[in-house]
Symmetry: C2
Subunit: 285 residues, 2 copies
């Protein structure tokens, strides 16, 4: 959703010229328009003049949602935008996205992202040893508890790729993704946001551990029984479910969700579909 | 993560009094402090005076991340905060959350929410008819394509509950959640954000359709074969996988993920864990 930028003013002559202009934006798929401001400084009163003229035109065109992506360098324009009827939609470190619903009909602007996504990696070698770590910070710091490598899925990253990356970063071990064994949804994990945490079974293809000094205190291959018998797991209802699913998987009595790369419809966009592929029917017929 | 509010100033006497104050915040679990501003108007220069004194004290206390939750009514304080070194972390319609990392060590402030979560509901009655709808807007508008009821999972809502709610809202049908059959992760679905879409099998407990006039053009119980043979599905690789999984499920040859309510550790927080429960092992041992 890139959009055209407004060429910023510099100097009062240019400002006078530009006062007649309107912002150029890109149409979205829902009858709205998206304006992406550059980070060049802009005088707030000139900004408001152009904004009002632009909104007048967009109203005539029957536009619905008007989106303004404002770089943090233009923090001085947040207040004028709010005074003109815009509200916050979402923000990232370097910009704030504001939106204004023009029609008198019900506002159908979709909500913001609601979930963070994390992965935990169940990596077992051929000696039935599982790859475990102790972290330098976080809730288990100093507890002596050995845990699966875990991490946060980056924006735009596939869950199966995130699991490979996190294991490699934390322990130096190369793996390939096998299956999602289970996932947990929890709420108010981070301010008001929810969390989805996917337990991924991974197949290791290297075995020499090199820990990431910054985050990881220690890492090792640990006999599975020793991992599973840690008191923390035995007292933790959810971890017990996960450990039992891992154990069933080792015994080939469990089927999680595989990752299948698929195309979707006309756009032919490629996405991963996760589903149980371990059945006697051919899903591709 | 609620926090104490700063009693806002009103009148110049109060301002003079308050210039000696520091903001009171709530400590977070990571060595940081969270200040939640009230929506009472505040003079920017007074705000900066108090902010600087506060930061000085927080530095002495060894605080790491400083979070300021700023109601949209205080949009005039965004620029001063940015000038003092704060940047945007996330935003919702009524507030902006800014953060400032005080230590000289690497910034470990976690990222923002990255995913929206959606559900699609596969609801079949005892006559092997599936519940389908046509929407008044969106990509299938006017296409004649009959689709599963779908919707967005609200902030703080469980996936299994969202599926029940969406089916009820769109069609008036009461259901209970059975299993997650599959899910898709896609990227850049909404600006830079990703999307997780869960296909849920639901058991209906009522059968009279009452459509939601605002969003839904039509709804019906349709013979499954008729649904599955729609050209759009046959041309859509991912939908074919999903349809085949649904078909295998009807024939009892498919096992998705059930929802199990579990406690996690010391906090005893209740979360849903989704996993394959259809195996010959007792996960609760």
């Amino acid at each position: 959703m890139s959009s055209t930028a407004f060429p910023a003013a510099s100097g009062s002559e240019k400002q006078a010229e530009q006062a007649d202009r309107i912002f150029s934006g890109k149409n979205d798929d829902y009858g709205g328009v998206i304006v992406e401001m550059t980070s060049e400084p802009m005088d707030p009163s000139l900004f408001v003049t152009i904004l009002r003229a632009s909104i007048c035109q967009w109203r005539q065109q029957g536009k619905r949602g008007v989106w303004i992506k404002l770089p943090i360098e233009l923090a001085n324009l947040v207040e004028p935008l709010v005074k003109e009827g815009f509200y916050y939609h979402h923000a990232e470190p370097k910009y704030l996205m504001l939106v204004h619903w023009l029609p008198v009909t019900v506002n159908t602007i979709p909500g913001n992202a609601t979930h963070r996504v994390g992965v935990g990696a169940f990596v077992m070698n051929q000696k039935n040893e599982v790859l475990v770590v102790q972290e330098k910070s976080g809730q288990f710091q100093g507890s002596g508890f050995w845990k699966f490598p875990t991490g946060v899925v980056d924006e735009g990253e596939d869950i199966c790729d995130a699991a490979v990356r996190e294991v490699k970063e934390e322990t130096g071990i190369d793996t390939t993704f096998v299956e999602i064994l289970a996932f947990r949804q929890s709420h108010k994990s981070f301010f008001e946001k929810s969390d989805l945490f996917f337990v991924c079974m991974m197949q290791p293809s290297s075995f020499d551990i090199h820990i990431q000094e910054q985050e990881i205190e220690a890492a090792q291959w640990m006999p599975y029984e020793e991992y599973a018998s840690q008191p923390f797991i035995q007292q933790h209802e959810m971890l017990k479910y996960i450990v039992n699913a891992c154990e069933a998987k080792i015994q080939d009595k469990y089927h999680g969700f595989s990752a299948v790369k698929t195309e979707t419809g006309h756009s032919k966009k490629i996405s991963y579909l996760y589903l149980n592929m371990d059945h006697n029917c051919d899903y591709t017929q």
